[in-house]
């Protein structure tokens, strides 16, 4: 057997063709971002065939509720010159262009799945809002929001939450995992820290549902005592003891 025969034989196993319900299913050489093979579904008419992705892109996202994705898929499908009905990506074309249709639909479906998986963001808790509500529940009227505190430089810095105790101000400053938030909170806390006002206590609270790196957390700790949100209750107990 020649090398070409060996390669041909290996490729024969890749593109399985099987019959479905009034359609033909073909494994293509494309794979979705998850690694699943793109299977196209072909409905063959007398002169025209319809090639679709058999709902492969929408299934590849792995979302519990995919109903909201249908509109997004339809918009993306039109960019590839395809139509989309009920979440499937499809193209109708003359039978003698079927092979091209298989290649085009498979690649469009793969691209759409990739774009969707990058675009879809699952709702996550709003940890700043959760922190604000937790503080209000715990410290009631002692919590003030959007409080300005003047730092060593003379610049006024805004803090989301400050607990006003009789002789102390406790800053509870939430930070998000992005460079702007980290830099902004770091500068504000450092400037206030440099004033060395013993009546002011500072805490930076970070959302530990996010993947923070060691260096990022080390950097935050330069500005103030850092506290993961899931452990904030312990700190709140210490603050309450001062109350």
């Amino acid at each position: 057997m020649s090398p070409a025969d060996i390669v041909k034989r290996a490729l024969d196993g890749l593109a399985r063709v099987s019959e479905g319900n009034g359609c033909v299913l073909v494994d293509t050489h494309c794979i979705y971002p998850s690694g699943s093979v793109v299977v196209v579904r072909i409905e063959v008419g007398e002169r025209v065939c319809t090639v679709s992705d058999n709902w492969g892109a929408i299934n590849d996202i792995g979302l519990s509720d995919t109903s909201k994705l249908q509109g997004m898929i339809a918009r993306k499908a039109s960019r590839f010159g395809m139509i989309s009905a009920n979440g499937a990506v499809a193209k109708s074309l003359p039978i003698d262009e079927m092979a091209a249709g298989i290649v085009l639909v498979a690649n469009a479906s793969k691209e759409i799945a990739l774009e969707l998986s990058n675009a879809v963001r699952l709702s996550r808790r709003d940890f700043k809002d959760s922190l604000r509500r937790a503080l209000e529940d715990r410290f009631n009227g002692a919590v003030r929001h959007d409080v300005s505190i003047v730092g060593y430089s003379g610049k006024a810095h805004h803090f989301d939450n400050v607990i006003m105790l009789s002789h102390r101000q406790i800053i509870v400053d939430p930070v998000s995992k992005d460079a702007n938030s980290i830099n902004g909170r770091l500068v504000a806390n450092l400037d206030v820290q440099k004033k060395q006002d013993i009546r002011v206590q500072q805490h930076i609270v970070f959302d530990d549902e996010e993947n923070w790196s060691g260096p990022e957390l080390s950097l935050l700790s330069v500005g103030a005592a850092t506290v993961p949100f899931s452990k904030f209750e312990g700190v709140a107990n210490s603050i309450a003891a001062l109350h």
Binding site: N21, S36, N54, L122, E210
Partner: protein, 167 residues
Amino acid sequence: MPPASKIQTDIDAFVGAAKTLSGTVDWARGYGDCTVGTYSISIDGAVAGEGAKLNIQVRALVPPNYTIGLYFKDRQIARLDVGDTAHYNQGQLPDGLPSYAGRDHLHSWGLNRQFAAPDKVLKLHLADPLPASIQSFEAAFRHFCGLHNIDQLPTIPTLPAKSDLFT
């Protein structure tokens, strides 16, 4: 190895908890020619929140095609596929995991845990080929449930008869 993120530990806790399937499965039309049955999941006798469910998708093909998926926090966290779609494992693979997982394969949570992120869908990139000993839906269902601590099954569901599938 990086420390576990909150989403990973949340899903670990869900997968690790002893779970039961609630009620009986109701079959409904899914995408295209798919028939879908869904169970809710209980932990300690209470229905688990956060979108916890197990669903079975069946296609009226010969031999039968089906997937069994476990969901939590709006994402699919594990899936078993039989017959329908071949799977390739990409990237740096753990020892012993083949590049080609075949048409009958299992995307377990343990194998895909590393891909969980707080606000992203979970891509089940890695799959093990199903053991050759698993030939029936019942065996596949028991295997999937056992691996993800879904115990005390009221009854093993049976796939709908072909005539009852949506086509």
